[in-house]
C-alpha cells in the first residue's frame, strides 16, 4: 500500500528551481534512500514530503489524504502525531539533558514529567545511549548526539521516520552503528523510513533507492 506520495511537485527559492516535478511513491513499512549530488533538491523533497514546506505545484499525499493543502496547524499536528524527523547535526536543545530532550515531544503531548522521563530513558537504552542520559548536548560526541536525536524522533512511535543525512557528521563505523540502531528500532516499530543521504553505503541499508538529479527523480531504482 502506498503510504506517502509526491506527484509532480515543484518548489522554487527565488531564482533557484529546487524541485522540478518530482514524483515518488513510498510503500508502507519500506526503507527508502533518497540520493543524489549536492544541491539536487534532496532536503527540499524531504521537507515537502514531511509537510514542513508546501510545494508550489503538484500534490503530496499521506495515508490517502492530501497534505500540501492543509494549513500550518494541521500539518504541525500531522508532523507531531505521525512523523519523526532526524537532522544531520542532531539539533538538540542545548540547555536540556539528553533525557529531557528525548522526553520533550511527550511533554508537548501533555504526558507527565515522570512518565515521559521513564519512556525517554527506555528509548535511550534502545539507542545504546543510556550512559549519556544526564549529559547536555555540548558534552556529547557526534555519534552520541545522533543517538539521542534518533531517540527523540522515535519516542512518539511515528508512522514515518524522516532522516536528512543522519550520519553525515560521523565516520563510517560510527555512522553504520547509529544507522543500524535507527533501522532496527524502526523495523520493530513498523515505521516507514525515508533516508536522505549522499553516502552509497548508507543507501545500501535501504530497500530501495530514489535518485534525485537537478530537482527531478532520475529513475527509481528498485
Amino acid at each position: 500500500m502506498t503510504l506517502l506520495e509526491a506527484r509532480r511537485i515543484e518548489k522554487t527559492f527565488g531564482r533557484t528551481h529546487a524541485l522540478r516535478g518530482v514524483s515518488v511513491a513510498i510503500e508502507s513499512g519500506e526503507v527508502v534512500a533518497i540520493t543524489g549530488p549536492s544541491g539536487s533538491g534532496k532536503s527540499t523533497l524531504l521537507h515537502c514530503l514531511s509537510g514542513i514546506m508546501c510545494p508550489e505545484a503538484g500534490e503530496v499525499h499521506y495515508d490517502g489524504r492530501r497534505i500540501d493543502t492543509l494549513d500550518e496547524a494541521a500539518r504541525t499536528r500531522l508532523r507531531r502525531d505521525a512523523f519523526g524527523i532526524v537532522f544531520q547535526f542532531g539539533r538538540l536543545v542545548p540547555e536540556l539533558t539528553a533525557v529531557e530532550n528525548v522526553a520533550l515531544p511527550l511533554l508537548f503531548n501533555g504526558d507527565g514529567r515522570e512518565k515521559s522521563a521513564t519512556v525517554a530513558r527506555d528509548w535511550l537504552e534502545r539507542m545504546d545511549a543510556l550512559d549519556v542520559a544526564d549529559a547536555r548536548p555540548g558534552e556529547l560526541s557526534g555519534g552520541q548526539l545522533q543517538r539521542v536525536a534518533m531517540a527523540r524522533a522515535l519516542v512518539t512511535g511515528p508512522k514515518v521516520v524522516f532522516a536528512d543525512e543522519p550520519t553525515g557528521a560521523l565516520d563510517s563505523l560510527a555512522g553504520e552503528k547509529v544507522l543500524g540502531l535507527l533501522l532496527e528500532a524502526a523495523r520493530v516499530n513498523g515505521s516507514t523510513v525515508v533516508l536522505v543521504t549522499h553516502d552509497n553505503q548508507v543507501a545500501a541499508h535501504a530497500d530501495r533507492e530514489i535518485v534525485v538529479r537537478d530537482g527531478a527523480a532520475a529513475g527509481v531504482v528498485a
Binding site: S43, S50, T76, F83, Q88, R91, L92, V93, F108, R113
Partner: protein, 440 residues
C-alpha cells in the same frame, strides 16, 4: 591608526542586523545624553520658579531631581549593554576572518568595542545637538527667555557626553568576553557561569544599621550610617537580581510539568545574567514606584489635597518610571532577539518535529514571567517595607494606597517583561522558518 581604518571598512560591510544594532546603540546613547543634559540643566537653574514646574521650581529639590534624571541612565545602560551583546557572535564570526590574517584576540575585541563606541559617539553627538536646539527653541519661542545663556553648562555637557561614550566603550569590551574567537571560527562559551552567591552579602550588610535601629541598639553616625545602609541594600539587591532570576528559573525547571515551562526555565537558568541585569533595573523602577506610594499616601493623609507642586512632582516621577520600564523592556526585547538568533536552528527543528508556533511563543512568554515575577514582587515589597516608619497615618485606609500601588507596579513590571515577548513574535516566526533548518 590602522585598527580604526579596519573598523571603518568593516562597518561599511555589515549585515542588516548589524546596521540595526548600530542604530539601536546610537539611539540608546542619544537617550542617555538627553537625560544627563536634563540633569545638568536642572542643576544650572537659578532662583525660585513657578510651582507648577514641580521639583524643578524649588532650589532645595533640584539636586534630587537631577539625581533622578541621572538614575534614568541605568535602564539605558542596560539597554546599551544588551544591544552591544546582540549579534556579537555574528559580528565576531566576521572578525574571525581577521584572526586568520593574524590579528590577536585582543585586537579583535578592541575592534568590536570600537564599532560600538563609534555608534555611541554618533548617537551622543546627535542627541546633544538635538537637546541644545530644542532647549533654545523652547526658551526663545515659548518662554521668551534670553537664549544666550545656555541651559547646559558646556563643561558639564562635555563631561556627560564623555561619560556616555566611555560607558559604551566599556560595554563593548565586555560584550566581546562572551565569544571565544579562534582563527577557525567562533564558539559561544558552552557553560555560562552561574551568578555568584557572594553578592548576597552586600544587601545583608546594608540591612545591619536598620536592623540595629529596630532592635533598639545604638547606631553611630546617624543618619549617614542609615543612608549608607539603605544605599548598600539597594545596590546589593540590584546586584543579586541575577541570582534571584537564576533561582526562580531553577525551581521552575525542577517543577515544570509542561515542555514550554521546562524550555523557558532551562534557557533562563543557563543565561540568567542578561535577564538579571535588566530585571534589576526594572526592579528598581518597581521599588521606587511602590515607595512613592507611601509618600503620596502621607501627603494625601496630611493635607487631603495635592497642590500643583506635588502633583507635578508625582506625575514626573510616574512618567520617569514608565520611561524607565519602557527602556528596560526594550533591552529585554533586544536580549530575546539574541536568544532567537542563537536558538534559531534548534527552534526551527522543534517546529519541524511538530511543535506548534503557539507553543514556541509560550516558551518566550514563560521566560518573561519566570524571570520577572520574583524580582518584581521582591522589589515591590521592599518599596513598601523601606518606608513603613514614615507612616503614622491619621486615616488608616490611606495605607491601601501604597499597597495597591505596589501591586500595580509589580504587575506592570511583569507585564512589561511579558509584553516584550509579544513584540518578539514576528522575529520568532522568522527564526523558525524552514530555511533555518539548513544553516549550521
Amino acid at each position: 591608526m590602522t585598527l580604526l581604518r579596519v573598523a571603518g571598512m568593516l562597518g561599511r560591510g555589515g549585515s542588516r542586523a548589524e546596521r540595526a544594532r548600530a542604530r539601536l546603540v546610537a539611539v540608546g546613547a542619544a537617550l542617555a545624553t538627553w537625560f544627563l543634559f536634563g540633569a545638568a540643566n536642572v542643576l544650572a537653574l537659578h532662583g525660585q520658579l513657578d510651582d507648577r514646574l514641580g521639583p524643578i521650581a524649588n532650589r532645595g529639590t533640584r539636586p534630587g531631581t537631577a539625581f533622578a534624571f541621572g538614575l534614568m541612565i541605568l535602564p539605558i545602560a542596560a539597554f546599551l549593554h544588551q544591544t552591544g551583546r546582540l549579534a556579537s557572535a555574528d559580528r565576531e564570526r566576521r572578525l574571525a576572518a581577521l584572526r586568520l590574517t593574524g590579528a590577536t584576540p585582543a585586537q579583535v575585541r578592541l575592534l568590536g568595542a570600537l564599532e560600538t563606541t563609534r555608534s555611541a559617539a554618533l548617537g551622543t553627538v546627535c542627541g546633544a545637538i538635538a537637546y541644545v536646539l530644542l532647549e533654545w527653541s523652547i526658551r526663545g519661542l515659548l518662554l521668551h527667555l534670553p537664549t544666550t545663556a545656555a541651559g547646559v553648562p558646556p563643561a558639564l555637557g562635555l563631561a556627560a557626553m564623555a561619560l556616555v561614550i566611555a560607558v559604551a566603550a566599556v560595554s563593548g569590551l565586555l560584550a566581546g568576553r562572551h565569544v571565544v574567537t579562534s582563527p577557525l571560527g567562533v564558539t559561544r562559551r558552552a557553560t555560562r557561569r552561574r551568578p555568584g552567591r557572594r553578592v548576597l552579602l552586600v544587601p545583608v550588610l546594608g540591612c545591619v544599621p536598620m536592623v540595629a535601629r529596630f532592635a533598639g541598639l545604638p547606631v553611630p553616625y546617624r543618619p549617614y550610617s542609615l543612608l549608607l545602609g539603605a544605599g548598600l541594600f539597594a545596590v546589593g539587591m540590584m546586584l543579586s537580581t541575577s541570582l534571584l532570576v537564576w533561582a526562580s528559573a531553577r525551581v521552575a525547571g525542577r517543577r515544570a510539568r509542561s515542555a514550554e515551562t521546562l524550555l523557558a526555565a532551562r534557557a533562563l537558568e543557563t543565561d540568567a545574567r542578561p535577564w538579571g541585569r535588566t530585571m534589576s533595573v526594572l526592579g528598581l523602577a518597581v521599588a521606587i514606584g511602590s515607595g512613592t506610594g507611601w509618600i503620596e499616601a502621607g501627603i494625601m493623609d496630611d493635607r487631603h489635597t495635592l497642590d500643583p507642586f506635588w502633583l507635578t512632582s508625582f506625575t514626573l516621577v510616574d512618567l520617569a518610571l514608565l520611561v524607565a520600564m519602557a527602556v528596560t523592556a526594550a533591552a529585554l526585547l533586544v536580549h530575546q532577539a539574541e536568544y532567537l538568533m542563537e536558538h534559531g536552528p534548534v527552534l526551527a527543528t522543534l517546529r519541524a518535529t511538530g511543535v506548534a508556533d503557539g507553543e514556541l511563543r509560550r516558551v518566550l512568554l514563560r521566560q518573561g514571567i519566570i524571570a520577572a515575577v520574583l524580582p518584581c514582587s521582591v522589589a515591590a515589597l521592599i518599596g513598601l517595607l523601606g518606608l513603613t516608619d514614615t507612616g503614622g497615618l491619621h486615616n488608616e485606609t490611606w495605607a491601601w494606597w501604597p499597597v495597591t500601588n505596589a501591586v500595580l507596579m509589580a504587575a506592570l513590571g511583569v507585564l512589561a517583561a511579558t509584553l516584550t515577548t509579544k513584540a518578539s513574535q514576528r522575529r520568532l516566526q522568522r527564526a523558525v522558518s524552514p530555511g533555518r533548518l539548513r544553516t549550521e
